[in-house]
Symmetry: none
Subunit: 264 residues, 2 copies
Amino acid sequence: MSRARITTPSSMGEALDFLRSAMEDRGWVALFASCKALYEGRGASESSEGDVLVIIKPDRTIIVHGPSGYKPLNWQPSGSAITLSEQSGHLEIRALRRSPRELLVLECGRVYAIAALQAPQSPEFYMYLSESEIRDVLVEHPELIEEGLRIAGIERPVEPGFIDMYGYDREGRLVVFEIKRVKAGEQAARQLLRYIEAIKTRGLKDVRGILLAPDFTESAIRLLELSGLEYKRLDLRRLYELASKRLSARGTKSLLDYMRGSKE
Amino acid sequence: MSRARITTPSSMGEALDFLRSAMEDRGWVALFASCKALYEGRGASESSEGDVLVIIKPDRTIIVHGPSGYKPLNWQPSGSAITLSEQSGHLEIRALRRSPRELLVLECGRVYAIAALQAPQSPEFYMYLSESEIRDVLVEHPELIEEGLRIAGIERPVEPGFIDMYGYDREGRLVVFEIKRVKAGEQAARQLLRYIEAIKTRGLKDVRGILLAPDFTESAIRLLELSGLEYKRLDLRRLYELASKRLSARGTKSLLDYMRGSKE
DNA sequence: AAGTAAATGTCGACG
DNA sequence: CGTCGACGTTTACTT
C-alpha cells in the first residue's frame, strides 16, 4: 500500500470523505480549492473567494496560502480543533483554538485536488553546525578566536565534567573554552565558571575562561563579567563555510559545492 | 479540461516531467517528498532526509514545510530562479535569489505525490516568464541574441555574486549576460559592470558585457554606453512561445541538464 | 504562565 | 535601494 493518496473529487461529499479518512492517524493534507476565509480572534479578517492551497499538518497546524508571497493568508497553530462539514454545497473547514480564542472558517466552493500523505518521517532538521563540528573548525582555525592562540586539547576531563577545548594564549596562559552551538545562557556561563574554579583550586591561578557562542543572553554576560570570565561571539556563517570545506576535502558533497556551480 | 492535475509518480523522470509542465503558465505545485535541504545565504542550514511538503507558487515563491508548526523549514521568496533537474536518481530543486545572494537546494530521494493547479489565465499573467525561464530559452536559442553565439554556462559565481549566463561570440570572445525580466534600470547596468570589472581585474581583458531585458531606462543605457557595455532588447512574446514549446517537449535531456551538473 | 529578544523574520510605505 | 514600523508576527528562552 502506498503512503500517498490523491484525488480530484467530483463532488463535495467525495472530497469530505477523502479528507476525513486522510486526517485519521496523523494524516497530512494539501488541498487546492477556491474558498473564502473568515477569521476572528486577536485580529479579524474576511476574504473574498479565491484560489488557495490549504495545508493541514499531522499536528493539526492549518495554513492557507494564496497564490503569492511567503506569508500565509490565514493559519491556525498546532493543536487547534479542526472540524469538517458540508454546508449547502460548500465544504466547510473550521479550526478552533482555545487560548487565545481564535476561529478560522474556510468555505470552499470548489475543490480542485487533494493530496494526502500518511505517517510522515520527520527530518531531524538541524541548523548550522553541531557543537563538535564547530570545535573541529576552531581547532584548525584558532585565529578566529584570537591571534597567537594555540589549541592544546579537547574533551579534557575535569572534576565536574569535560572541558570542550583548551589551549594557550600568546603569553602562554592557559585558556579554557566552553562552546555552545546556540545562544548561551546563564547555564553555560556557570558551567565554564565551575571548570575554572576547579582548575584554580588545584593551584593553577592564571587561567582564562572564554565562552564561545553565536549569541549570549544578558544574564550570561552579567555572570561572566562578574566572574572575570570572557566571551566571544562566533560567526556561524564563517564557521559553516570552513566546516563545509573541511568536509568536502574528505569527499563529502556540501552546499558550497552546489554554490560553486558549473565548472569547466 | 480540468485546471488541476495530480500524480503519484513511479519514477523521478516522470516526477520531473510533471513538475516542469506544471510550472508553465504560473502554475501552483504541492509536492510530497522525502528530501534533504541545504540553504546558504543570510544564514546557513542543512537538514537530514525527511518527509516534507514543498510548495511552489505562481510567483515562484518556494516554501518547504515539515510535519509540524507554523513556520516553514526552508523557503525562498517570490521571484527566485527555480530550476529542476535529475541528479543520480534524485530530483533536485534549486532556488536561487540574487540579492541578497541565497541558495536553496532540495535533494528529493523519493517523490510520493504531486498536485498542480493552473492559475486563472488573465492575459497579463499568461505571458509570465521567470528570469530563469527566459535564461533557459536563451541557452537553447542564442541566435535570438546574436548570430554565432555559443552559450557556455549559467549561474556562474563571481566575486560580487552570480553571472546569469555567459558564452563566446563568433570571434571567440567571452560574453557575459545579465538578464532582467522587467525593464532594466541603472542598478542592473551597474551589476553587469561589476561582473565585467571583476573579470578584467583577473587579467582577462577582452570581455563583452550585454544586458538583456524587455526594456531599459535612460540612465541604464547612458551608463552602459559610457562603460563600453552593450544591451539587447528581449521580445518577451517570442520567448514565451519558445518557452511553451520547450516545456511541452518532454523527456528530452537538454544542454541545461548537463550544465546544471557540477562537472563534465 | 508571563515577559523579552531574535528571526534567513516578512511586508509595506516613504525618502 | 535604504530605513522605519507593524505584524493575528512566531519562536526560544528567562523569570
